[in-house]
Symmetry: C2
Subunit: 230 residues, 2 copies
């Protein structure tokens, strides 16, 4: 059985990938975001009636970066993603990823008031906070988390359902309830509390040596698949 990670293990593995294995952030973000788009297409396929619009909510950190990449690949897969990206991160990686979205003609919303009717979307992708999140949710993100909590549209969370404690899950009854969770690299402990329908693992880039040293016991991805259902 695949190991579910503590927050500190998740942080250590991430650091090792960059420091010891010399991956670049943009390289792993590309693979992570791409795997999310692939998993989403498996669970929420394109439909003929044009309701293929997906709201991708991106936070300021690396989870948001995964979301920016995911949105671009969703566009390549012929969905109509719309980004909600309220706090544009001031570094070259995020600015370039945003630019790539704009050049791929993905609309960008910077304020919750621009979201208008959330029910018009087929799916909401939650890429607000990742495995380094510590509660509480900062004031500026409370409105979008409230929208996600109240929405009846299915939510797909990338790595961590936003606002959840990385190890203990939803902190209060009213936490968001994603229908889909895509764990990256390996699931985090909060994934035991996930009660949705679709749990996928993405990020087929973990070196065997790293897998063994953390006893991750990753499932065997079949063939050239880049995601696997858990």
């Amino acid at each position: 059985m695949v190991k579910y990670l503590t927050q500190s293990d998740a942080i250590n593995i991430d650091n090792e990938l960059f420091e010891k294995y010399k991956f670049s952030i943009v390289q792993l973000m590309e693979l992570a975001g791409q795997s999310c788009a692939i998993a989403i297409k498996k669970c929420y396929p394109l439909v003929a009636n044009n309701k293929n619009n997906i709201l991708v909510c991106c936070g300021p950190g690396n989870n948001g970066g995964d979301g920016l990449v995911c949105a671009r690949h969703l566009k390549l897969f012929e969905y109509s993603p719309v980004l909600y990206y309220p706090k544009i991160t001031n570094n070259a990686i995020h600015k370039n990823l945003l630019h790539q979205c704009i050049q791929n003609e993905i609309p960008i919303l910077e304020s919750v008031t621009q979201i208008k009717n959330v029910n018009e979307y087929k799916l909401i992708v939650d890429a607000l906070f990742g495995f380094s999140f510590k509660p509480p949710v900062k004031a500026e993100f409370v409105p979008i988390i409230d929208i996600l909590k109240k929405s009846s549209i299915p939510i797909c969370s990338i790595d961590i359902p936003s606002g959840w404690d990385v190890e203990n899950g939803a902190l209060e009854e009213g936490g968001i309830k994603p229908e889909m969770l895509i764990s990256l690299t390996a699931p985090k402990l909060c994934a035991y509390k996930f009660k949705g329908i679709h749990h996928y693992l993405g990020g087929r880039f973990v070196p065997k040596k790293l897998e063994l040293s953390y006893e991750l016991k990753l499932p065997k991805y079949p063939g050239t698949e880049l995601v696997i259902k858990l």
Copy 2:
């Protein structure tokens, strides 16, 4: 019908991807190399008898970088790649990609004499020179090109069969004869002269706007496929 590119169009498109669309080299190299590994797995599947070793020959430029990424993904797909990388490129991107191969326990050969018996491989991946190649082949690469020319092992060329003129194909009767060609972004004119069995297109990252401005008429990748047979 997909457009076959001149050398200058290929160079201009590459420049636009970096300058106008703000992709980073490492980001597109990751997608390109990954797509090559996926296409190879489709054409040369794993076999039970352990003959899954692939010699991946990498040159000093970006084509070689694609090869380094391809080798790592082949390893993740459970092949046994061996790198032939005679001229280690002295920049952070290539050094990191090489380091990732080493950490993934891929053996590295730096001299042709270390190749010994080329017939022990199932496949040779040719990632020596790409679309910016101008003949003649530099002296230090003549021995490996000679090995590729004489080998009876199938060769898979990434983007351009090495030593071929990018527009006119093999310059002399004795040019290498790949069995597989994986064109990246769009085929180059020399691909008209390809007489092998498998011609694939990889690199599903081209923004629609770029595709339209160069009238690339790319084929429609089905579903979440990252490669397509031409």
